[in-house]
Symmetry: C2
Subunit: 345 residues, 2 copies
DNA sequence: TAGAGCCTGGACAACGTTGTCAGATGCGAG
DNA sequence: CTCGCATCTGACAACGTTGTCCAGGCTCTA
């Protein structure tokens, strides 16, 4: 049991290769290759000898060399904003499952909402020669991807459209979802409604704001500037924004929260206040039904977003897709109480 | 603007190579390599010509070939149970950040708690020649990894120890955390306390059960068999288990939930019942503080777990680590109300 | 001005695998 | 007994990159 002897004699590079296996089994290089890949044309006896040599040496095929030779890597890249965000977990998992079904591995990275970092990541993935890319864009100019796409890297954008290039996109209906959510608040008697969202350069944030404005306009309610607050979705800023809207001479009676992170902070702020405030949030959150009152949300199906995107990716690779398309998935309003509170005096 | 012409003339493999760049720039192959890698020994004028050729052709270095030549891939693998589980998001992100700081990419996969799938994934990653592996083990026999570790693949296990091999492990103190959590319930007057956990073959589940038993024994409380329920953590089974414990002739007055998934289901069951039931859960959950009552939890720091593991991984790769070690991170009891309810009659 | 030494650039092999193709072996038929 | 064919096996090149090594041109000094 000398397992502790790790990397002593063997610094690196002395892994057995097919040549070693061939030598040990007393066969040719190609025969080993045939056995490893399950190709026909090897007598059972030879195969057994090769297999024994493989086991004895602990040989494992070097996929780098294989990729170099064959062209395809059987891996796809996923670039998203933050793996730790509960919205992206299911999305990521869904992409992974589709990849797995196609025998591909998933390489992923977080852009941290930084366009430069996104580009750096994407290009690193291209250098690895991933077969395809699923990108949740942070930046708004993706012309840097043009040569890659031309060279055959399948590409699908998710959650937000690509900038400056024509590519497959899978989105949720942010505009419609937000409009419906705000209309729901209006239907319950609210007229002074606040909107707190992500940075305006993020497409979904802009769309949801547009949905908010549309709902207000449809109802003939003029929107006051200080009812809207866009920016980073860290707790500090959101808290400040919410408290500002809820205070002053003519405070809002309801808030529409632009995404899951905003929603949780707004829930906290509202919970601290005496006067009830209606709330509808974009994105479902766990345990939303158990809060008092339950949080009404506009839910999007993150897993479905990921599945759809990955499906399209592999269909691009199959060659069964030709033209880029824009797919918009519907959202669903889930009423739980917080959106149905009447406006307080 | 003919961006729609994707993969027409170019099926694959006709990406420009260094040879193409060299030809176009009118220089030698190695000179291109030098420019691409920022190596010294190229006159500014030559460098400019090469750079122009690179841009004109849209050349991108093929990392597969590079890896084959150099030996190291600058990528590490992460195998966990389910990317969609909120516990693993931050862990995964933390590993990614450390990898990024070392210039490495992260390839990850979900084992879905299936030992075969775990092995399949790990070996696929080894075939890719990842430099290192962070594994949250699903199985309990990892001897299949021995040849890989010997060959130089740095390996760190997280959250649960490796089976049958001697390797670095980073854990949370499941035993101590559970014992403290249960002791907390006992301190608030409970004697009939239930335990609902994950499948017993999972190390953390077994350890937490052991912590539960220890706390009960320390208090001199004999444990009845039907106070303990271990199995899959899907809502159906957990719900059934909770309802069973809470009904009958002598129901439990408090429940210790073995992980985040169990906790949310138990919270739901408890919310439906008239009689209050005390609850302490392992793992913190979002919004736990806003529920009525707030959910008392034994929190572990998932991000710290990931960071610690990744750090050790790269220190193995540096060669600054020699002997496998077992690191146990402390847990933290966060009291919020649900654990402080007195036993109901 | 010649020689030494430095700097730049390029030819070539090697990494480990797979595809091509040709050689070897064994068997049955004429 | 020999030929032909089918079956199995192996030699070799190629994938795209980087490390080694050498050649040629330059500068600097004596």
């Amino acid at each position: 049991m000398a397992e502790t002897a790790r990397r002593t004699e063997s610094r690196y590079g002395n892994r057995p290769t097919m040549k070693d296996v061939a030598a040990r089994a007393g066969v040719g290089l190609k025969t080993v290759s045939r056995v490893v890949n399950g190709e026909p044309g090897v007598t059972p006896d030879t195969e057994r000898r090769v297999q024994e040599a493989i086991d004895a040496l602990g040989f494992r095929r070097n996929d780098s060399a294989r990729v170099l030779r064959k062209g395809r890597t059987a891996s796809i890249g996923l670039v998203l904003e933050d793996l730790a965000d509960p919205f992206y977990g299911p999305l990521s998992r869904a992409v992974e499952e589709v990849a797995r079904a196609h025998g591909a591995l998933l390489i992923n990275g977080s852009s941290a909402e930084d366009p430069d970092r996104e580009q750096e990541l994407v290009l690193a993935l291209c250098a690895r020669r991933v077969d395809g890319l699923v990108v949740i864009p942070a930046g708004d100019d993706h012309r840097y991807l043009e040569p890659e796409i031309k060279a055959g890297v399948a590409t699908v954008f998710v959650d937000r459209p690509a900038g400056q290039i024509d590519a497959d996109v899978v989105l949720s209906d942010s505009f419609g979802g937000a409009r419906d959510g705000v209309a729901h608040l209006i239907a319950h008697g609210h007229r002074r409604i606040g909107f707190i969202g992500d940075m305006p350069r993020i497409h979904t944030a802009a769309e949801r704001l547009r949905g908010y404005r549309a709902a207000m306009e449809d109802a003939g309610i003029p929107v006051e500037p200080d009812w809207m607050s866009l920016g980073v979705t860290g707790p500090e800023r959101v808290r400040l924004a919410a408290e500002t809207m809820l205070s002053g001479s003519s405070p809002v009676t309801a808030v529409f929260a632009g995404n899951n992170r905003v929603t949780v902070t707004v829930v906290r702020v509202i919970a601290e206040r005496a006067r009830p405030v209606a709330l509808v949030g974009f994105d479902d959150i766990e345990l939303a039904d158990l809060l008092q009152p339950g949080v009404t949300v506009v839910a999007q199906d993150a897993a479905q977003l990921g599945r759809t995107a990955a499906d399209r990716l592999f269909r691009q690779l199959d060659g069964s897709l030709v033209l880029p398309e824009r797919i918009e998935l519907p959202t669903r309003l889930i009423t739980r109480g917080s959106g149905e509170l009447p406006p307080a005096a």
